[in-house]
């Protein structure tokens, strides 16, 4: 392998532009608005192209792009200042729905009944600081260290936010499945 990818248009297209789907998806989850997500994705790609010489070959190009995306969103698109949430994972009582599912739906059929749209809508209901780490981890597959770099927080914070995000989402999906009649909560009928 050559020591570095020449910072040319072709290299950029091959290594970075292939991640446009991921950039757009993440932009959509962050902004919640398809038109804005397109602008945000385009701006991210053009910024990335201009700083392509700073990209270190062999590192995760997707993580690099999503970091640029997240910074662009925070600096230019986010309307509301968010209050910093401090969550310590050891303070959280796990509220996994595991026990409820064991009782009411041991075959876990609700996982099969829920469709993409249900999951996306539930993700969009998460508070932003939880939504962004969940999307970067569970949709885009970044490591804790890559997420920490993208979001600008210590790895420990990523860990606790991700824990919380997954549990809130799980509970939300479970409640939705009960409401939709996919699961009968024990004792409820």
């Amino acid at each position: 392998m050559p020591p570095s990818v020449p910072p040319d248009r072709e290299g950029f297209e091959r290594e970075a532009l292939v991640h446009l789907d991921a950039v757009f998806r993440t932009a959509l989850r962050l902004s919640g608005n398809p038109t804005e997500a397109e602008d945000l994705a385009q701006e991210t790609m053009l910024k990335a192209f201009r700083s392509w010489h700073q990209y270190r070959a062999g590192t995760n190009a997707k993580a690099w792009l999503l970091t640029i995306l997240r910074n662009t969103f925070v600096n230019q698109y986010r309307r509301e200042k968010r209050r910093p949430a401090t969550v310590d994972v050891t303070d959280i009582e796990p509220f996994t729905v595991f026990r409820d599912v064991q009782d009411a739906d041991p075959e876990r059929t609700f996982f099969d009944r829920l469709v993409d749209g249900d999951v996306i809508r539930a993700i969009d209901r998460l508070p932003e600081e939880f939504r962004e780490v969940l999307v970067l981890s569970d949709v885009e597959g970044l490591t804790y260290a890559e997420i920490a770099a993208a979001v600008g927080t210590p790895v420990g914070t990523v860990k606790s936010r991700l824990f919380r995000a997954r549990q809130i989402l799980q509970r939300d999906l479970y409640d939705y499945a009960v409401e939709a009649g996919y699961i009968t909560r024990r004792g409820a009928s």
């Binding site: 998806r25 959509l28 010489h53 993409d116 996306i120 490591t143 804790y144 860990k159």
Partner: protein, 87 residues
């Protein structure tokens, strides 16, 4: 904590996602594995959470970028100057 000390259900619950994400150190991973081998409840929980994460992976992606966005970006790239070359 002593590296060889066994851990309890509570500790496993708190570390489960890190375990499933492959983010634990080798020693911590071994402790969780040892507990899961012995504890039916935690084993079932780990199985459930694994299914949940797979489910998320399969259903959370939705659609990719629209074709016109790709064209728009390519047009911009072609009209702009080459980025600075490294020496």
């Amino acid at each position: 904590m002593n590296e060889s000390e066994p851990i309890d259900c509570r500790a496993v619950t708190h570390q489960l996602y890190e375990f499933l994400d492959g983010e634990l150190s080798a020693a911590a991973k071994a402790r969780v594995q040892a507990h899961l081998a012995d504890c039916a409840h935690c084993f079932e929980l780990a199985d459930f959470e694994t299914a949940y994460l797979r489910f998320l992976e399969a259903h959370a992606r939705a659609r990719g970028a629209p074709a016109h966005l790709r064209r728009r970006i390519l047009d911009e790239l072609l009209s702009g100057p080459e980025p600075p070359a490294s020496r």
